[in-house]
Every structure is written in C-alpha cells, then in structure tokens.
Symmetry: C2
C-alpha cells in the first residue's frame, strides 16, 4: 500500500469516528465535541489503531484548530474585545500565575529537579481556547461578555505561556538569559499590536485587496491566505498558530465582506475540525497509565490543573459578578493540544520522562473533556445575570429589581469604544 | 523552526503563488489553471524554492484533485454518462492503445530495453482528467456530450492504465503473470460496477444516511466521508484515487440533496485545488533538462504523447462528428499528475533513469499546460455543431438547415435512459 493510500484511509477513519461520536452525543443531548474526541480515542492508537499520529494527521488537526479560531475571530469585534480588556488581562495573568505556582510547588515538594518543575508548571498554565470557543459558538455565547473575556484572556495567556516555555527550554538547555525572554515579549506584543491595529485600519479604511472585485470574486481565498500567513507568522515567533489565526479572523472580520466569508469558511472548517478533535483523542496513552501510581498522579495533577486555573481565572473576573466569573474560570480550564505540545517539548528535551509525559497528556485531555458538559448551564446563569445587570444599567426602570446596583457600577468596565 | 511552522509557511506560499498566477492569467483572458501551475513552478523548487515537494504538500495536492473530481462527479448524471458509453469506451481504448504503441516503438527503436520501453509506454498512456474537467466546468461544458465522453473515457483509460502499470511493474520485478493482470481487471470492474449501480440505487430509493435529517443537518460530512472512503478504496485496489472520488460524486449526486452539497463542497474544493495545481508546477525540474539532448528528447516525447493521444481519442469519437471528436481528443491530452506518478514508479523500480524521469515529468506538465488555452474554442465549435444537430434531430423545422442529416442518425448513439 503506498503512502497516500494509507493516509486517505486514516483520514477516512478519523472522519467516520468523529462523526459517529458526534451523533451519539448529540442524541444524548451532550456536547458533540466530547463525542468527537472519544471517537478519536476509540479509532486511534489507544484502542483500534485504525489510524496513527503522524505528520499528516497532525497537520490536518492543526489546520482544523486554526480554522476554528479563524472563525471565532471572524465573529469577534475588536472594539468589543477591548471593552473587556482590563478583565481579560487580569484573567490571563492570574489564570497563568496560579497553575504555574501550583505545578512548580507540587513538583518541588515531590522532590523533582528544577527543569522538571518548570516544565510541569508550564504544561499546567497553557489554556487551549479551541474547545471552549467551539462550545460557546454552538451556544451562541461567543460574543457575550463572558465569551469575549475568555477570548481576550486566551491571547494574554498565550503570550505569557511562550515566555514561560522559553524560560523552561532555556533552563533545560542550561542557557537562560533574561534578555531573550524580554525580547520574546516585545516581539509577541509587537506582532499582536501591528496585526490588530494595522490590519483593522487597512481593512476598515480602504476596501482593499479582500473586497476589491477586480482582485477576487469572493473574499474566500484572500481570507485563507491571510489566515495561513498570520498563523505561520505567529508560530514562527513562538506564539501558538491559533492565536495568529484568531487575530487574522478578527482583522478580516472588519471587512464589509464578513458574512460572505463566514458562509464560505464554514464548510471548510466543518471538514477540518473533526480531525482536530479526533487527534486530541488519539493522544490518549492507556498503556502508559496502566499502573496505580500513574493513575493517582494523573488524578492529582488533573485536580491541581482544574483548581488552580479555575480559581485564578475566577478571581481575575470576579469584578464581572460571580456567575460570569464562574463561566470564565471554567471556560479557561481545557489544556487541549497546547498542554500536549508542551509535554512533548519537555519529553524531547529530556526534562520529563515517559510516565510523566503520559500523565500530562492525560491531564490535558481530561481537562478538555470535562469542560463542555457544564458550559451550557454556566452560560445560562451568566446570561441571565448579565441581562438583569444591563437592564439595570440602562436606568432603574419600574418593574426591574435593582438589587446589586452599587457593585455593578463599581466593577463594570467603561463601555467606551475603541481608541 | 518546528515542522508544523515550516508546513504552514509552505502552504501559505503555494496559495499565494497560485492566487497571483490565477489573477494574472484571468486578466490576460487565459485559463487561470495555467497561471496557477506556473505560480507553482516559480514558487517551487525549480525557481525560488519557497516550498518543497514533501508528504504534506503532496497530500494537500491529492485531496485537491480528489475534491475536484468529486465535484465533477456531483455534476455528472450516470444515465447521461451511459448514453455516451459506447463512444467513451472507444475513446478510452484507442486513446490508450496508440500512445502505448507509440511509446513502446520509440523506445525500442532508440535501443532501450524492454522494461524501459514498457514504462515509457505506460507513462504516455495515462490521461489526467483533472485539468480538462476543471476548464470544462469553468466553461459550463462538463455536461455537454463532449464533456461526458471525456469523463467516461477517463474512467476506462484509468482501468486500462492500471493493467499496463501492473504489467510494467511485473516485468521490472521479473515476475509477470497473466492471472494477476486479469484479476486486477475483474476487481476494478467490480469496484466500479458495485459502486455505481449499488450506490445509485441505494441513494435513489431510500433517502438514506445522506439525507436523513436525524443523522445529519447537512449532507456535507457524510458526503466527505463517502468521498474519502471511495478514494481510499480505489487507491487500495490500484485505481487512481480520483476515479473513486469521481464515482463517489456521481453516486452522491443522485441524492435529492445534491445542490446543498454542491454549495458546501465548493469552498472546500476552492481551498484545496490550488495546492494541486501548484504541486504539478513544483515538479518541474529545470536542472534535469538543462542540456541539448534532454531538451530534444523532451520535445520529441511530448510531440509523440500529444499526437498519439489526440489521434487515438479523435478516432474513437469520430462518430460524434469532427468538432466533438477534436474536443474529446484534445481534452484527453493532459498527462498531469498521473504521468508524474508513473514516471516516479519507473524511477523507484530502476526501470528508468534520472534524465528520462525529468523528460517524462516535463512531458506530463507540458501536455497539461498546452491544453487549456485551446479548449474554449473547441468547446464553442463542438457546441455549435451539436446544437445544429440536435435541432435537426428534433425534426426538420423551417429555417433550420439540415445539411448533415444522414450522418447524424447513423453515428449518434441511442438516447436511451439507464437500464
């Protein structure tokens, strides 16, 4: 059998497994994304081994999550994101600081060396926004304030994560320089700033390349080019490719052709995203977790990962009221493919060993699987409360109870437009 | 730079190059597909080397042509294809026999050994229907009688090609058995028959999995699953994956959800096909052709490839009138990726050497580039003639000249429905 045939069979198998998982979970009234991941577990190396994790299936998974975040970006307006900027910054910082501190302390207490402690801590910090934003889209809650805080915090989270990873890699390689870390920070912030401000201005002011009917009948291919270009560029400077894709979506979404683009991107994303969810499932290493110690370690680390991320992000968003803070905290919990990538990096540099690797990957998958089932209820609670708040903010009208007035006015951020 | 980053950059580069080539050729009023291939030449290894030919870019190219043929299949109705079945069979057989005989004779006259002669002959036979069907779609001529003959002949062509390739590989490996060739033929015909007749019946009779609203909101993902599955299966039994994809499209196209599916598949195909055209361009090996002998050989083999395929297919379709036969003959000329695959197989088995390989690949690309510019005029001529014929067939009405009546009735195939 030649290579292309093999890959075609594997892609077929992933799609079928994801589709079956999706259908079963839809009929059970559960989040379909969990079904798709479990489909990946069953068809993947852990059970039937119909497909393997190789360069091609990984690429399809990566393009899948890149498209997912591009879609999310398309639906996100910059000025709405900036409105929740302060809260997102707090959520991002605290949501990184607590897991890092927790992971580091746990590793040190268990007697691990410094490199292991830093890598474990880094793996605990990295949020993967793909799963949460997928579920929020399905719930129509992506543009709610809670959704926007999560997206903004994910960008900050990722900037901090590359700095931590850079520290971790530097320590592992025995060469650690503060200058490198700072220059990384500057490059990351410059990238985000230039893309968002520059890109948005260009697309808002002139009709530009995207909407020039002389250049393209539809904005689809230019949009895909911007997406791949910024994803590659983000990846090149050390950020996650999905952050570049998210920014690309947000910038392109400022164009007047947004809706045409959205409807053309939808099938492409629908084709690719099952590969992403299936791929996460394929990483499950049941053999590596088949002893009591590893299982206990998995439970402990997963509990630590959930608790620290939730509490950190919750505190960061508490100014938005408890219901919304709970949604934000829970939405930041999945580590997904980002946690898996960090674990892989730790394994390849020798900082962590096979068993710890399996445990960290298991943690990344469990944190991803447990989040979606609870999101609908959290979104409902956050929405109900926020609607009451907004009605109240519009002025105390007769018939609207105004029971949390003082708190609301102090904590809400100013609803000013973009600068 | 990690591997995924590298691949993202390469995919970005191919899309940009293809898009620029497409735009330039569109403004020049030339077939855009030629521009996309030339974009691939310039960005690829032959000139700038922004991207390379690797497993990932090859996979994207393969999925691109698979989607292209799936789309073509969606627009092709089985009973219309069967109406031109006899002509397509003749075109397929003669369009394979002449190039094979020509290639074999030329190699023998030049003093090559038997293995070389068979491989060269095999490389000359294989038509790639991707390019022609893409141009015919743009011209709206895919469902014209000429278009249907080309599609039907391409299926027959591919069945014959796998038998020839199997003979060639057998001779190269020193083990050649008639039983193997015959069993290949039986499997290929069984595959095509079962898929087309079985699949069509299932989809026509019951609403089935594709259109069951309980199973899927849209037929898109089930359609993609059928496409990948049949492409993989075709590839597994030795047929080209694109033949499986074409059959999948034709079968799925019988469902009542055809139009919904077409509009969802269109952006996915638009995303992938530039990788296919760019990939063909990337195969150009200028260094391997940089001497006088190689160039002369290239010109000679290309002329032989064009002449034998055109004449064979033309004779096969002559019963349909000269204008249509010319369209069919010219439309079968591109060797495209199929010729490149055969050459690669010959190289890996040691049957052909580096220089001949470069020449055969060059022939495959040139035959692909020269076809599109002349198709619009050939389509116009074939359409005008056929409209006149059909008007005449409807009965001699006043004002319609009836100058080729006798010929038409003898040569036209019966317009009966499917059995």
């Amino acid at each position: 059998m030649d290579h292309i045939t093999e890959i075609l069979i594997q892609l077929f198998a992933i799609l079928v497994a994801a589709k079956i998982g999706n259908e079963i979970f839809r009929r059970l009234g559960q989040p379909t994304v969990v079904g798709e991941i479990l489909g990946g577990v069953i068809a993947g190396p852990a059970v039937f081994g119909v497909y393997e994790v190789n360069a091609e299936t990984e690429l399809f998974a990566e393009i899948g999550v890149v498209l997912l975040l591009f879609q999310v970006g398309l639906e996100t307006r910059l000025h709405e994101l900036l409105r929740v900027g302060r809260t997102a910054l707090m959520v991002g910082i605290l949501g990184v600081a607590l897991p890092f501190a927790g992971g580091f302390a746990a590793a040190e207490l268990a007697g691990g060396d410094l490199t292991l402690a830093i890598f474990l801590a880094a793996a605990l910090t990295a949020t993967s926004v793909g799963i949460t934003s997928n579920v929020l889209r399905d719930l129509g809650a992506l543009t709610s304030r809670g959704g926007r805080i999560i997206l903004g915090a994910a960008v900050i989270d990722d900037v901090l994560a590359i700095m931590i990873l850079s520290v971790a890699s530097g320590v592992a390689a025995g060469s650690f320089e503060v200058v490198n870390i700072l220059s990384l920070l500057v490059v990351a912030i410059l990238f985000i700033g230039v893309v968002v401000i520059g890109g948005t201005r260009i697309l808002r002011r002139r009709r530009s390349i995207l909407t020039d009917p002389e250049f393209a009948e539809t904005p689809f291919l230019p949009g895909m080019i911007v997406m791949l270009g910024l994803a590659a560029l983000a990846s090149l400077i050390g950020l996650a490719a999905i952050i570049g894709a998210f920014l690309a979506g947000m910038v392109v979404g400022e164009s007047s052709e947004r809706h045409a683009l959205e409807s053309e991107v939808a099938p492409v994303a629908a084709f690719f995203t099952p590969f992403f969810f299936g791929f996460i499932g394929a990483q499950v290493d049941i053999a590596g977790l088949a002893n009591f110690d590893a299982l206990m370690l998995l439970i402990g680390i997963t509990a630590l990962a959930v608790a620290t991320k939730f509490v950190g992000a919750f505190i960061g968003a508490i100014g938005q009221g408890r219901a919304r803070a709970a949604l934000v905290g829970w939405g930041m919990v999945p580590r997904g493919e980002v946690g898996i990538v960090v674990a892989g990096l730790g394994l390849s540099t020798g900082a962590i060993e096979g068993e710890i690797y399996s445990v960290v990957v298991g943690m990344a998958i469990i944190t991803t699987l447990i989040v979606p089932p609870f999101l609908p209820a959290l979104v409902r609670r956050a929405t109900t409360n926020s609607e009451m708040e907004e009605a109240a903010a519009a002025g105390p009208t007769p018939g609207v109870e105004d029971d949390d007035d003082g708190v609301r006015n102090v904590d809400d951020e100013p609803e000013s437009g973009p600068s």
